[in-house]
Symmetry: C2
Subunit: 230 residues, 2 copies
DNA sequence: ACAAAAGTGTTAATCTTACACCCATGT
DNA sequence: ACATGGGTGTAAGATTAACACTTTTGT
């Protein structure tokens, strides 16, 4: 096929983590080129013999060494022809979540300067990456409501108050503690363990786990997860 | 930038239309190449100086002459490296709806054989287009529930029974006629006109219109459209 | 008068919201 | 004993689900 086309394909990943009651985004500092020292999303060009999915996983591994818990395609950015000043680049953006026990960055050759930034305190970003982050945040907010992906941001065993806080802070609204717990427990997909969290003060709090198998079973039976409070 | 990459970028459009109580997909018959005479989605390669959005609109215009009522990006297919036997192609798929008064095809030079197929009676499709159609159908089904896009498949003025039928047939379930009408009317975004539809038999039925301006105004005030019946 | 589709209301059941006090621990 | 966060129940209001008869027209 002798079509002349000189558009490059890249992948970018918006990786969200949750720590200190705060949603974080993983960024890396550009080491080369005109955009040297600017912060950008994890990403890079797709190789000829590599699927998009493999490409984004490779970049995640090379640039951060992190293990993501959830990964899905977000959107393909290709309407702004000059989004990359170097040449025409169409970027397939992915949306990733990491478990908060996996937040440690194994900095690697390609980008020693991977770093977490609270979503409220992002630096200036290269390219159109600000826009990509905005879209990813919206996706996260709407997914939280009808899919149990909040658990992918927490450790395997978590406190109910952590889950509650995660919902409140990402959705930016107050949720009644009692109604929230009642609703979540009514689904039967979150189970109490007999362990207690390390706490500073106050009454000790039980640890809970998300039963993914049970959720998948219920899903097949037509169950709909939904956390939607006024 | 001297990266060697030989991946092509294409766009494809899944165009849905609704007629005869039946959801239809627009396909074109391939005229050249190894896949000659196979049916495929509307689509083609993106030009270097053209946005993805412009590319899909150009292809729609060139290949079918149709005017779409709704267009949004669906998903980017690039995981199967051999999805196109000719070379590595990553395709950005778009999801489109056409008003049922616009179903007439202005067949054009590039593909005289554009044709509507009921979703239940699709022929064999080229590439991975079957998979793309499946994903588009799922998207349509879920969007119908929480966005008023059903109206983009109907004429400007429509009968309540048409709307109801559209929901039932696309979602593949029975919906109580009284509850459906009550719910839709309670939103205040569908208005009765003083006209009546052409009917064969039975009591004459009023025509209704969707008030998009009012919907947009309500949206800004936090209104949530939702049609979700057991 | 009948066939065919349009139009319309009520009730029981369920779900959602709002709200405040006691509990278990560390200091 | 007190400060801190954890844990729990109930009642009013809103929403949903289930359900059948009358109306208007053409033949």
């Amino acid at each position: 096929m002798n079509l002349k086309q000189s558009i490059k394909i890249a992948v970018d990943a918006i990786v969200f983590g949750y720590s200190n009651h705060c949603l974080n985004v993983l960024l890396i500092k550009q080491k080369f080129g005109a955009l040297k020292n600017q912060w950008a999303l994890v990403g890079g060009f797709v190789k000829d013999n590599e699927s998009l999915y493999d490409a984004v996983n490779r970049e995640l591994h090379e640039e951060t060494g992190i293990k993501v818990n959830y990964l899905e395609q977000l959107y393909t950015f290709g309407d702004n022809i000059e989004r990359d000043p170097r040449c025409r680049v169409v970027s397939v953006a992915y949306f990733a979540l990491v478990n908060s026990t996996e937040l440690i960055l194994h900095a690697d050759s390609d980008a020693e300067d991977a770093q977490w930034f609270p979503i409220q305190e992002l630096p200036n970003l290269a390219f159109d990456h600000k826009e990509i982050v905005q879209m990813a945040l919206k996706r996260l907010q709407s997914k939280l409501i009808y899919q149990p992906i909040g658990f992918d941001l927490l450790p395997n065993e978590f406190l109910f108050s952590e889950l509650e806080n995660l919902y409140c802070s990402i959705l930016e609204k107050e949720i009644d503690r009692r109604n929230f717990r009642k609703k979540i427990l009514s689904f039967g997909i979150v189970e109490e363990t007999d362990k207690y969290g390390d706490k500073k003060n106050g009454r000790p709090a039980k640890l809970f786990v998300f039963n993914k198998l049970k959720y998948n079973k219920l899903l097949n039976e037509g169950f709909l997860f939904e956390i939607n409070f006024a």
